[in-house]
Amino acid sequence: MIYNMEYETMPRDALEAIQFRRLQATLERVYATVPFYRNKFHEAGITPQDIRALEDLHRLPFTTKQDLRDNYPYGMFAVPMDNVVRIHASSGTTGKPTVVGYTARDIETWAELMARALAAGGASRGDIIHNAYGYGLFTGGLGVHYGAEKLGASVIPISGGNTKRQIMIMKDFRPSILTCTPSYALHLGEVAAEMNVDFQDLHFKSGVFGAEPWSEEMRQEIERKLHLSAVDIYGLSEVLGPGVAVECIDAKKGLHIAEDHFIAEIIDPETGETLPYGKRGELVFTSVTKEAFPIIRYRTRDISMLNREPCICGRTHVRMSRVTGRTDDMLIIRGVNVFPSQIESVLMEMEGVEPHYQLVVDRRDNLDLLTVRVEVGEHIFSDEVRMLQTLEKKISKNIKEYLGVSAKVKLVEPKTIERSEGKATRVIDNRVL
């Protein structure tokens, strides 16, 4: 279902006209109210008036995560705190978190975009949404929550954790839509199996999964184990939160970006140069309607590409391919670029192997050593040492073939790789560079 027919199916020329008008207003406003942007524009020798068409966007300087940290906590806000009704923050695994604010209208916009996203994922009025994204400073829980209410669906604000209780609630409350991270979805599947609950007997029809990179193979596994149709959702707090882009359940081929609110670009992460449609690179976003926390050319560090081709669902908004990795997740191992998602694809192509893995990189005698830890589930376990060693060798060989990098495969006991309630830890880099 399309929630906002007028904007989601708008002809591209009209859409781009709106984007440009809104971009100009945003630039004028940040120039006037945020010292950081005014200084950056000055340094680049540019004023908002120099941007005369959408194509001029690339002349503006980038904003990076470091810029947000430097202006911690409220330096990037474009409205007085009187007008800020909500504050969220990123997890801040390295250093300070990044803080974002919302006006009442921003919250309204966010709810609208999340309502669109849930509708694109198969939800409508009358659905019961089991929302297992974490509630709190993290944008996932509340973002989905407001969108679900806006859509007119019933939302169960279960948040993350206490998985056994979640399964019980799924049985009793009969939710029809599941929202959580893809790794938590698989964890729910495992715990349900341990409790002898079959997802086939539950009432889910679809799930909207995101907040971490995942692969096409992982989608198939979730769909098979949870008996539902899985779509990918994208968002980040610096830009809005969940709802920036979402896959339609009709095509499940790329995520429609809410282009009446954001302008997306793909750049070469090395040179900063803007890349054409169909080229893979770093995703960059500019917000054109946000009030409290407008953001200009924000470097997401997420790797994706853009597709302008019309979609069978009728939406005219550009689609981004599923995020295949992060520029800062990218490991360079003996000169080869390696994304965790590539390893995941290799594993998922192998019969019985589950996507529970972790990459550990060490440096010994100036040589990078990649170890891939893979959990041994019942499907691949054998009572014969030889069989397990053959499996290790086969995984190693496939990684070498597909990625061109040598890896030692280490089989580990189930659930020893930290995961599930939130995001899985996919990479441990022990190299001291």
Binding site: E194, V376, G377, E378, F381, S382, D383, E384, V385, L388, Q389, K410, L411, V412, E413, P414, K415, T416
Partner: protein, 143 residues
């Protein structure tokens, strides 16, 4: 004429084996025979116990990966050449032994050896035809 064996995947690190024995002890499961095969990274613990279902359930509940395999318990003369005779029979018939280990209890004045074959049916047929006694699980668990 088969015996059910359970196998457990273990990482090669301190305390994992004792974790298994603790779980089985708390579940009231008696271990009748065991063998541990290990590499530098991992080990596979194979067990014959008095209650397979209970053992498997308790281990799985504690997060272990558990498998089940059919193996064969064979009576072996407790004298020089006893085991050799059996291996000779299997060798002549071209039956491959994946691994084997000793059972704790004696069967009368015979020792008992657990065999894992890739072709169990064939192996049992050859052993019985050669007059070698194969012990059924129902008998073995109670020994």
């Amino acid at each position: 004429m088969r015996v059910e064996q359970i196998s457990v995947f273990l990482e090669n690190k301190a305390g994992r084996l004792s974790e298994v024995t603790r779980i089985l002890s708390e579940a009231g499961v008696n271990i009748r025979a065991l063998s541990l095969a290990d590499t530098s990274d991992f080990g596979i613990l194979r067990l014959i116990v008095n209650d397979n279902d209970k053992a498997k359930e308790a281990l799985k509940e504690n997060g272990f990966t558990v498998g089940r395999t059919d193996v064969v318990a064979v009576e072996v003369g407790d004298h020089p050449g006893g085991l050799h005779r059996i291996l000779e029979v299997l060798y002549q018939a071209n039956v491959n032994v994946e691994y084997m280990y000793a059972f704790v209890q004696q069967s009368g004045d015979h020792a008992v050896i657990i065999f894992r074959f890739d072709n169990l049916e064939e192996a049992v047929k050859i052993l019985t035809e050669s007059g070698i006694k194969v012990i059924d699980g129902s008998v073995l668990y109670g020994m």
